[in-house]
């Protein structure tokens, strides 16, 4: 069938806007699905708004906050909180470091560096990394309590496990995306695979690996502060302990220390980013 060619119509018909709801309108179906999801969520949860918005709840909330004052600022307790904060920092630093080491080791087997690389381990190692990453630090900590016992060791290992998953995946992406020229040149000379990595790939991706690791460290400080709620050391453990005993003055001090730590980390990372990108 040939297109009809003739003089153009005197008045070009306006294209009408699409109908508001059509069976082929993907956005409409998506919006409808979203609405159903939200309504079903609110409907199926037995949310006790009445209990929360009542005068009673307001009074108990006010009493609860009132008990925070005065915070316990006696010297021995402040020292204990400082030790807790230091423990939190140490947990996050060591956890991130362990994760960087194991993440790099796993990333090596999870990446295909050149076309001839069979990379048999790639798929299973990626599955392992995804599983490590999918389970949050707090769940890891709760599971590790069984074998590592209460205390910062469980928290450190939990941070290390989750972060290994995160960093391993990021590292593998970075290694696979690195320019292949230098590695090819070394391989053509017969240099073994390990040394090809050390002298060609690693120097190129090292800045990226460092920046990923520092970013995760920042996240892990925040995570380590609350990790102890299940008993895995640091400020969180102090918080759960004193809140459980209804010692609200001490709870207030620990909470303040936690918020201060998070705020300091935020401010420091903001300043560092400003300085580095300038």
């Amino acid at each position: 069938m040939k297109p009809v060619s003739g003089p153009p119509a005197a008045n070009v018909p306006y294209k009408l806007p699409p109908p508001l709801f059509g069976a082929r309108c993907k956005a409409c179906w998506f919006g409808l699905g979203l609405l159903v999801l939200v309504v079903a969520s609110f409907w199926s949860l037995d949310l006790q708004w009445r209990a929360f918005l009542s005068l009673d709840a307001a009074a108990s909330m006010a009493r609860f906050v009132g008990e925070f004052f005065p915070p316990d600022l006696s010297a021995p307790f402040v020292r204990k909180v400082l030790v807790g904060a230091a423990e939190t920092l140490a947990m996050s630093a060591l956890g991130t470091l362990l994760a960087a080491v194991f993440g790099l080791l796993l990333a090596l087997s999870a990446s295909r560096t050149h076309a001839g690389d069979r990379a048999h381990a790639r798929a299973p190692v990626r599955l392992l990394l995804n599983a490590l990453r999918a389970i949050p630090e707090l769940v890891w900590a709760a599971l590790l309590l069984i074998s590592a016992g209460l205390g910062p060791l469980a928290g450190t290992l939990a941070l290390a496990l989750h972060t290994t998953g995160v960093l391993g995946r990021l590292f593998a992406e970075a290694i696979e995306n690195a320019p292949t020229g230098p590695a090819f040149a070394l391989r053509a000379q017969g240099v073994p695979a390990g040394r090809v990595f050390l002298y060609a790939t690693l120097p190129q991706v090292l800045p990226q690996l460092m920046s990923y690791t520092l970013y995760r460290w920042e996240n892990n400080i925040r995570a380590a502060a609350i990790l102890g709620v299940v008993g895995a050391g640091g400020l969180g453990q102090l918080l759960a302990f004193h809140m459980g005993l209804f010692q609200m003055g001490k709870t207030a001090t620990v909470l303040a220390a936690m918020l201060l730590l998070v705020a300091l980390v935020d401010a420091f990372s903001y300043a560092a980013r400003r300085v580095m990108t300038r």
Partner: protein
């Protein structure tokens, strides 16, 4: 001549930098010693006779995973509750974040059209921004601990905790997204006498809609993960069941729930990736 040409073809026999590597690894271990002390890093306690027994018993109970129909039904219900807590929390967070963004974004300031913003609106915007930062910087787990005390165990505490923390996060990032884009069209509309809401819905929103939606979807994915964690302090859902089963050393149940949880996170990851791709 021939020798000189043949030489680069043979690889050096040993790693020329190995001495430096060994030295730096040793130095790092010495410097990091305080960290190992502070975190009581003695992984071998996990393998001594006292803790080996329970650990092995717990792990060997992982297989086979619990697959009783009653238990699977319970897991399905709790999984839905986890998703529902995250969705309801994000919805309330949006209720908090959207007005806060509209009030606090500098892109909709009329007095800023002619140079500097007037002092009162500038102060108001900065105050609102600080409120958002405070909301965001209190971890949702701490909010949940507090709300569990006030409203009791149950999903209400989880929903409120997610709503407050994520409201702060969304409000802050929405403001940053709106201010980082091209402000020409908005300024043009404002300068010609349109209202702030009009300028928002005809200039700022169409320009940034894709980015805003994609960030919201990403945060929904994060909220699912944190609603599991909130279960550990008694906010209901999969986390609470996981906590109960772990405390009862029911390895099979824990294995099932971990698998369900990994699948849920993978599904949310896939959905959010697909949505963000579709948005461009």
């Amino acid at each position: 001549m021939n020798v000189a040409r043949a030489r680069p073809l043979s690889a050096p026999a040993r790693d020329p930098a190995w001495l430096a590597r060994v030295f730096w690894i040793g130095a790092a271990l010495v410097l990091l010693w305080p960290l190992f002390v502070a975190t009581e890093f003695r992984p071998w306690v996990m393998f001594d006779a006292q803790s080996r027994g329970p650990t092995l018993a717990f792990l060997s109970a992982f297989f086979p995973p619990a697959l009783g129909s009653d238990f699977l039904l319970l897991v399905a219900r709790e999984t839905w509750r986890t998703v529902a807590i995250a969705t309801a929390g994000i919805t309330l967070a949006l209720v908090l974040a959207i007005p806060a963004t509209l009030l606090s974004t500098r892109a909709l300031s009329i007095s800023a059209l002619s140079g500097r913003m007037a002092p009162v609106p500038a102060l108001l915007r900065q105050l609102l921004r600080w409120v958002l930062i405070v909301l965001r910087s209190i971890p949702e787990l701490v909010w949940a601990l507090i709300f569990v005390r006030v409203v009791g165990l149950g999903p209400t505490a989880g929903v409120l905790a997610i709503a407050l923390t994520y409201g702060g996060m969304l409000g802050k990032v929405y403001g940053e997204i709106l201010e980082s884009g091209d402000s020409h069209v908005t300024r043009c509309l404002l300068a010609n006498g349109s209202g702030r809401l009009q300028a928002f819905s005809y200039a700022l929103l169409p320009q940034n809609a894709a980015e805003l939606t994609s960030y919201t979807v990403y945060r929904w994915e994060c909220a699912i993960r944190s609603s599991v964690v909130l279960g550990f302090v008694g906010a209901g859902g999969l986390g609470q069941q996981l906590d109960n089963s772990t405390k009862m050393f029911a390895g099979g149940e824990v294995a099932t729930m971990l698998l369900v949880f990994i699948a849920l996170v993978a599904l949310a990851d896939r959905t959010s990736g697909w949505l963000r791709k579709a948005l461009g």
